[in-house]
């Protein structure tokens, strides 16, 4: 019981640290703003535009995965401190929670895109699972690369490339399976 209480205290402190970082607010604005701009721009013609072979919502979701693939590793690298190493587990959980919220922030805009295509709310919720999986992946890759590579810049770049590479591979396999 005391251990759980201790973890809660550390988690609370880590969440406070992340919330104080300006990078978190900037990432929140960039993610939501870029997705709003894409959804409105791509639906500003007579009918919504889409990538070949995909619906409007799925096309916008691909853009969202690309945006988050670039944005989340940067945000994690900026907001999570690496020392002392003994608190890494709590930091990872706090970062995962914060990034999940950041990734979820564009859901209303994605829901509008989903409704333009008439794909159904369930379709939008399933798409959100992919986004949440990406946020967890981004936290894991950044923290893993930071342990392997002590240079912050190189660690961030490696984490970004890894995250985007994994997302691209998963999307390719999903398309191949279809």
């Amino acid at each position: 019981m005391r251990a759980v209480h201790g973890i809660a205290i550390v988690l609370r402190r880590e969440l406070q640290l992340i919330a104080r970082q300006r990078a978190f607010g900037v990432a929140l604005l960039i993610h939501t703003g870029v997705m709003t701009a894409f959804v409105l721009a791509w639906s500003s013609g007579p009918a919504p535009q889409a990538f070949p072979g995909r619906g409007f919502y799925d096309s916008v979701r691909l853009v969202q995965l690309a945006v988050l693939g670039l944005l989340l590793p940067w945000t994690v690298a900026r907001v999570v401190a690496m020392r002392p190493p003994r608190l890494m587990a709590s930091r990872a959980v706090a970062a995962a929670l914060a990034m999940a919220l950041l990734a979820f922030a564009a859901f209303p805009v994605m829901l509008l895109a989903d409704r333009m295509e008439d794909a159904g709310v369930a379709h939008a919720l399933r798409g959100e699972l992919d986004v949440q999986a990406l946020s967890a992946l981004a936290v894991a890759t950044v923290l893993a690369w930071r342990r392997l590579c002590h240079d912050r810049l190189i660690g961030w770049m490696a984490a970004t490339i890894s995250t985007c590479g994994l997302v691209a591979a998963v999307l390719y396999l999903q398309d191949y399976a279809r």
Partner: protein, 422 residues
């Protein structure tokens, strides 16, 4: 009375059950159908012991008309369906569907007549078509009895068909149509919600205090704004109106009480829902241009109003056309010797009017409601017309769950009795 022949086909399902609804029908005026012309199908349904809640479907070639049917037992109903195709067959199939299952069917023979053949058809006594379309296959009519139709709507239908035939139908000279006003983009339906939400989510980190004790409020505040934004995104457009943009022709004919309306239009839907757009007329057809799922099917509701069922996305647009008759009238025309007086009897100001040469060259190109104009001499010419434009629609639309607003203009044309008639 010359009765050349009458092919009246009445068929029943083979050995129908005692409680099955009795479906009888007859196809074609005098049993005749022509490619590209309307074919009347008069249907009688007798719900003897069980209520009927289903669809009545008539098929001729690739064309199909489907009318919703709600009939409590015991009762009997008779109505006309009109079907048109270039791909004609010598039979029309009429069937009753309930719960997605066919419960009755009749097959009706049709005598096909070529487009170029001159056809005089006989109207059976008491079997007057209720629409001008019922006479469309005929070039000339003969009557079993000398009586005129007793119902006013039947008399109007016959008068409109005669006026159409006299005006030359396809040869009628009409001013050029304007394009349908462009629809707004789907983005315009979502922009307010999306932009307000983005501003709200951007403001959260700025508004939450960076103090030591309250900084954790950032997370529930973001969650709250996302929840509110999601609710707003879900609700966007759900109570908004469908917007119908149209370009319409309304043709009045001297001697006919009803107006022939043709309309090209788009409907823009405010939400991702099922919509059932209905034209406010009992005599017409509403064809979706972009909906391919239903093929050549046209639909009517249980009252006989043409309707367009569509599963829409937020801000999506569908093109459609309407052919109908309407009680709308823009002009009232009276003759006093050689003079002809035209009055604007509508509630709209009529603009950019064009008059035959018999009217003064200084004639106003605008007629306010109630305003009239008079010719100075006898009107001549093969098909003299008066044409004006107004901002509005000659036909209203309804939808069971949403308001419908219309925007666009109508070219209203009055075909005057010309030299040929005089």
């Amino acid at each position: 009375v010359f009765v050349i022949g009458r092919l009246l086909a009445i068929a029943l399902l083979a050995a129908p059950a005692a409680d099955a609804p009795l479906l009888t029908a007859e196809a074609g005026l005098d049993g005749v159908g022509r490619p590209g012309r309307w074919l009347p199908v008069r249907v009688t349904i007798d719900a003897r012991t069980e209520d009927i809640n289903g669809d009545l479907v008539a098929e001729w070639g690739r064309a199909r008309v489907r009318r919703a049917l709600i009939l409590p037992a015991p009762s009997r109903v008779e109505f006309d369906l009109y079907i048109r195709t270039g791909d004609v067959r010598d039979v029309v199939l009429v069937r009753l569907e309930q719960g997605g299952r066919e419960t009755s069917r009749v097959t009706l023979p049709v005598r096909i007549v070529g487009v170029e053949d001159q056809t005089a058809l006989t109207v059976p006594a008491g079997r007057w078509p209720h629409s001008w379309r019922g006479y469309d296959a005929a070039d000339a009519l003969m009557f079993d009895t000398g009586d005129a139709p007793s119902a006013r709507s039947d008399r109007d239908a016959l008068a409109l068909w005669r006026a159409l035939r006299d005006a030359g139908d396809a040869d009628r000279a009409l001013p050029a149509a304007e394009p349908v006003p462009p629809a707004s983009s789907p983005a315009s339906h979502a922009a307010t919600t999306a932009i307000l939400y983005t501003i709200a989510i951007a403001a959260v980190p700025l508004l939450v205090r960076r103090g030591r004790s309250r900084v954790l409020l950032l997370y529930p505040a973001i969650a709250l704004v996302v929840a509110g934004g999601s609710a707003a995104a879900w609700a966007t457009g759900r109570s908004s109106a469908i917007v119908v943009r149209h370009q319409s022709f309304a043709e009045q004919f001297e001697g006919a009480a009803t107006t022939l309306v043709s309309m090209r239009a788009t409907a823009q839907y405010p939400a991702d829902e099922d919509f059932s757009l209905r034209a406010d007329t009992m005599d017409g057809v509403l064809d979706g241009v972009s909906s391919s799922a239903s093929g050549d099917e046209t639909r009517l509701d249980a009252e006989g109003r043409p309707m367009l069922d569509h599963r829409a996305g937020l801000g999506s647009t569908e093109s459609f056309s309407v052919e109908a008759t309407s009680g709308f009238r823009a002009f009232d025309v009276t003759h006093d010797g050689p003079r002809t007086r035209i009055v604007n009897v509508s509630t709209a100001a009529l603009d950019r009017c064009e008059f035959p040469p018999a009217f003064s060259t200084a004639a106003a190109d605008r007629l306010a409601p109630g305003q009239s104009i008079e010719s100075s001499s006898v009107i001549t010419g093969p098909d003299p017309i008066v044409a004006c434009r107004f901002a509005g629609a000659p036909l209203a639309f309804t939808e069971p769950h949403h308001a419908v607003t219309t925007s666009g203009s109508t070219l209203v044309v009055y075909h005057l009795a010309g030299a040929r008639d005089q």
